[in-house]
Structure formats: C-alpha cells, structure tokens
C-alpha cells in the first residue's frame, strides 16, 4: 500500500485557504524596479538603542529560557506603558504574558476561549490571521462586513444583527489593517453596550494603537465593565519598528492569563530572550523615537491621501495604522485586475482588497510605510496609470 501524506492532513488544516497575498507576492518578486506599497511593516529599522541593547545582552551571555510569562522587568515595563499611555492598569505578575508576536497572542487567546459549537464575530476587512485561527479551534468564524460609507467602522447595529445564541467572542482590530479605520471612545462605548448585553468576550488586537493620528488611541478594556471581558493584545512590531524580533504581549484578567499560559508553556515555552531584552530597552528609551516615526507616518498619510483624492480615487482619510484603502470601482476593474495591471504597467505593487475579505473587493490596500521620495514616485506612476484607465 502506498503512503499518501495528503490522507493524513487534519481536515481543519487541509481546508484552510492559502493566503490571498501569497499569489501576489510571487508575481511581484519576479519583477525589478518595483515600488512596493504592499509591505505591512515599518520601513524604519529598529532604533539603534534597541539593537545595541540586544548585542550587549548577547555579550553578557543572556541566551537562556525565561519564565513562561516573560522576563519580570519586561512585564513591569509593559504594565507601566499600558497604564501610563492608555490608562489601563494590569498586574505585571498575574495579568501579562510576553508572546512570540501579537500573532501568537491572537492564536492563544482564541484557543483559550473557543471550541466546536462556538461562533466568533470578525469584522471585515481585517488582518488575515483571525479567521484561520478561529477555524483551527473548531469554532465558526462569522464575518461581519463594514462599509466605505462608514469609513469601515463597525457599527453597533450591524454587530447586533450578526449575534446568535452561539456567539461567544468578537475580534476587534482598530486601528485597522487594511483600512486605517479607528474607533473613537464614543464609538467603542456604543459597541461595548452590545458586547455587554450579549455577554461576549473581546479579543482586541491593538498592535497599531500607537499609530493613531488624530486624538489618542482608546483601549476598549478601559471602558466601564469591559476590562474583565477583554483580552488586550499588542506588541513591539509596529510602533517600535521591531517586526523581526517577534515580541508581543497579552494583558487580561488573571483567569484568562492563567489558562492562556498553559498553551504558551507547552507550545512556545517562552518568547526569545534576545527580543525580550531588546523590548525592555525599547520601553525605557525609545518613546522619543516612536513619536518621531509616528509623526513621519502622519505626514506621509497626508501626502498620499491628497494625491489619491486629486487623481480621482474615492478614498477616506485613514485615521490610524499605515495603510490607505481607496476604492478602485470607478475604473471598472476588480481589485485583482487593478493590482495586476498597475504592477505590469507602472511597477507599483499594492495588495488587492479582496485578500482581506469579500467586502474588500473593489478596494486596494496601499501601505505608506515607505520613504516620502518613493511614495511620491509611486503616486506619480499611479496617477499616470489612472489617467490612462479613465481616458480609455
């Protein structure tokens, strides 16, 4: 009898669709002189302070495991940061785990609360990992569309219409990848009323919290009656330009944490110590650098928004993260057609919106985590491309 590895694949894994981004990646990689607005990470290199601290820790011989929860000094810094920056106090001994990126935290949070028979609400368009992570728990992801007319904000009315007796949790991700949408304190308060009414858990991915351009970020955990039912996830990747270090964290009620840490200890043991050492330094000495980067993203955001509006794209001004999500419907092309044609004709790479959700069809995600010079060049090329589309 011949052995077929395919026969042994867990159906939950087998049926996961491959990422819609992969296909595009292959296409772009083959081409030269492309300006990529398809990158979902900062163009800044991690601050030198951070890199230097890691080198020093290696010289000192910090190459071992840490506590499952993470280095106590780092948890202390995380708790201090969440409290001082966003007004949400957590106990650094019992309510925080350092994770391998926000990615691990999302997976762990969902596995800790969901299983077969549960439904998890996922407002879309959104980051690509939530749906697959829910699927892997055996629970059912319920996609809730958001709309251009609402600037891709989740509204309490739409949310309520998707809740069933099986709904257990909701994944919130604002500031949002790919739309740049942000929910204000008032908008979050309105949504939290629905969440409380139906007794749901919130998994809140706030990795772009620091990248909020008008006003400051509100943690939903800071709203009345929300703290205990919220699992707050964030990390170093975006705000501190530390994607490759793989350091994230989760802050939640002790009862969530003590169960989550079981998964973490058996599957990950701990986050890498080099990254943890670097993260401590980031919290201690890089706030200045963070504000400088945020200010620069903000300036680029204004440039890109204005250029897109001027060239005739339907677009709203993103309020957070480093993405802008214009509609390309008036070109008569689908997201994918637009992205492919733009790549072929003008060598600008963007990500088709349908990679993030069905309701992302008709939009493209452009990242402005790229130098002003490159952005302006990309906008010139896009403008030329559009004028050809509109005139033909």
């Amino acid at each position: 009898m011949t052995f077929h590895p395919e026969d042994f694949i867990n159906p939950l894994v087998r049926d996961l669709p491959p990422s819609g981004i992969r296909k595009f990646f292959d296409l772009v990689s083959e081409m030269k002189d492309v300006i990529s607005l398809g990158v979902g990470e900062p163009d800044f290199i991690s601050p030198w302070h951070v890199r230097e601290a890691c080198v020093y820790s290696l010289e000192k011989g910090y190459t071992m495991y840490t506590s499952n929860f993470g280095l106590p000094e780092l948890r202390y810094e995380i708790a201090k940061y969440l409290d001082q920056r966003f007004g949400v106090p957590y106990n650094d001994q019992k309510e925080i785990i350092v994770t391998v990126g926000a990615s691990e935290a999302v997976d762990m949070a969902l596995r800790t609360i969901c299983g077969p028979g549960d439904e998890v609400i996922i407002p879309e368009p959104c980051y690509v990992s939530y749906k697959p992570c829910v699927r892997l728990t055996g629970a059912e992801p319920v996609a809730v569309p958001t709309y251009f007319k609402d600037e891709f904000k989740l509204t309490p009315e739409i949310l309520e219409s998707y809740i069933t007796p099986k709904t257990k949790a909701i994944v919130l991700s604002y500031p949002n990848n790919p739309t740049g949408a942000v929910l204000t304190r008032e908008e979050l308060a309105a949504i939290s009323k629905v969440i409380i009414k139906y007794n749901l858990v919130v998994v809140s991915d706030e990795i772009y919290g620091e990248l909020t351009y008008e006003g400051t970020h509100t943690c939903i955990a800071g709203l009345p009656e929300m703290r205990d039912r919220t699992i707050l996830i964030s990390g170093m990747s975006k705000a501190f330009a530390m994607t490759g270090w793989r350091i994230g964290y989760v802050a939640a009620h002790e009862d969530f944490i003590k169960n989550m840490v079981k998964i973490h200890q058996y599957t990950m043991l701990c986050a890498p110590i080099m990254g943890q050492k670097a993260a401590i330094e980031a919290f201690r000495s890089c706030h200045h650098e963070v504000s400088r980067m945020v200010e620069e993203y903000d300036q680029r955001r204004r440039i890109v928004y204005k250029r897109m509006k001027d060239m005739g794209l339907e677009v709203f001004k993103p309020q957070g993260a480093f993405y802008i999500f214009p509609s390309v419907k008036n070109t008569g092309l689908s997201s994918e057609e637009f992205a492919q044609k733009l790549l072929k004709e003008e060598k600008v790479a963007v990500v088709p919106g349908n990679a993030f959700a069905d309701c992302g069809e008709g939009f493209i995600r452009c990242s402005y985590a790229t130098s002003v010079k490159q952005l302006i060049q990309a906008m010139d090329r896009m403008e030329r491309f559009l004028s050809k589309q509109f005139s033909s």
Partner: protein, 160 residues
C-alpha cells in the same frame, strides 16, 4: 508649526512649500509666511547641501582646533571669538566646556595650509594661550547623515 517647518527644512532644504503644506495639514500661504519670517529673523541662516567632498574627488584638509584663551574683562570670550570667526578659513567656532575654551574648525587645501594658518594667524592672536590641532582623517557622519549607510530596504515586497 514653526518648529515643524524647521524640522522639515533641516531634513530637506529643497522641499517645496506645497509639499510642506500637505505634510503639515495647512495652506501654502501659511508656510510661505512662516518661512519668510524665519528667514527675516535669521532663524534660517541659509540653505546648503551636505556634501561628501572626498567622494567628489576634491582634496580638502579639515582640522578641529582647541583653543585656550584668557577671557577679557566685560566682553569675556566674545571679542576673541569674533577675531577668530572673521577669517574665511574658519568654518565654525563654538565656546566649549572643559580644559579648552573654543573649538574652531578650519578648512584648507592641504594640511600644511591649515597648520600654517594656525601657527601664523590663530596662535598669535592676543589672549590666545595655547592651541591643539586635530586633523580629520575620515568622516563617518555629518549633519545627521551617515556617509556610507548600508541600511538598505531588506523587507519582503508584500507582507500581510
């Protein structure tokens, strides 16, 4: 707003008013007025380029000279500093803390020319007690710019 304009100009002296207006979310007129005022007030002194002369193939000798002086009654160090900074060979003069009093940077065509200038002009000024010359052998970073920056974009072209 004033300082934001200055920051943008410090990074790129050739940035247009239009672009600054977009980046700072204001009007071209406001930017124009601010820049004009900054120039009038001599807060913006001039616009210049940061140049890697070595790469341009131009020989130059640059030295930093520590100068010890005895301050004068009423005018302190200012009068001597003025006598020094009036020389066109002198690129910059600063009052510094520590063992010496003034830090002077001098540019010339050759080391000899610079050394002669120090010996004949600088060291002989009244109240200059002593000097110490350091020639610059290689520049790594100037005006916030790293000369041979190897930090290229190594990111994957498309990521979620």
């Amino acid at each position: 707003m004033k300082n934001k304009v200055l920051k943008l100009l410090e990074c790129n002296g050739r940035i247009s008013f239009e672009q600054m207006a977009v980046m700072l979310d204001t009007t071209v007129e406001e930017i124009e007025a601010i820049v004009k005022k900054l120039e009038e007030e001599k807060i913006i002194l001039k616009y210049s380029a940061v140049i890697n002369w070595e790469k341009a193939g131009v020989e130059e000798a640059v030295a930093i000279i520590d100068v010890k002086v005895s301050p004068q009654r009423e005018v302190g160090f200012d009068a001597i500093a003025q006598r020094i900074y009036r020389f066109p060979e002198v690129r910059s003069v600063s009052l510094i803390s520590g063992e010496y009093d003034l830090s002077v940077s001098i540019e010339g065509k050759s080391m000899k020319e610079v050394a002669m200038f120090v010996a004949q002009k600088l060291a002989t000024i009244d109240h200059v007690l002593s000097t110490r010359t350091h020639f610059i052998l290689k520049r790594y970073k100037m005006a916030g710019v790293i000369f041979e920056d190897e930090e290229v974009d190594r990111r994957e072209v498309i990521t979620p």
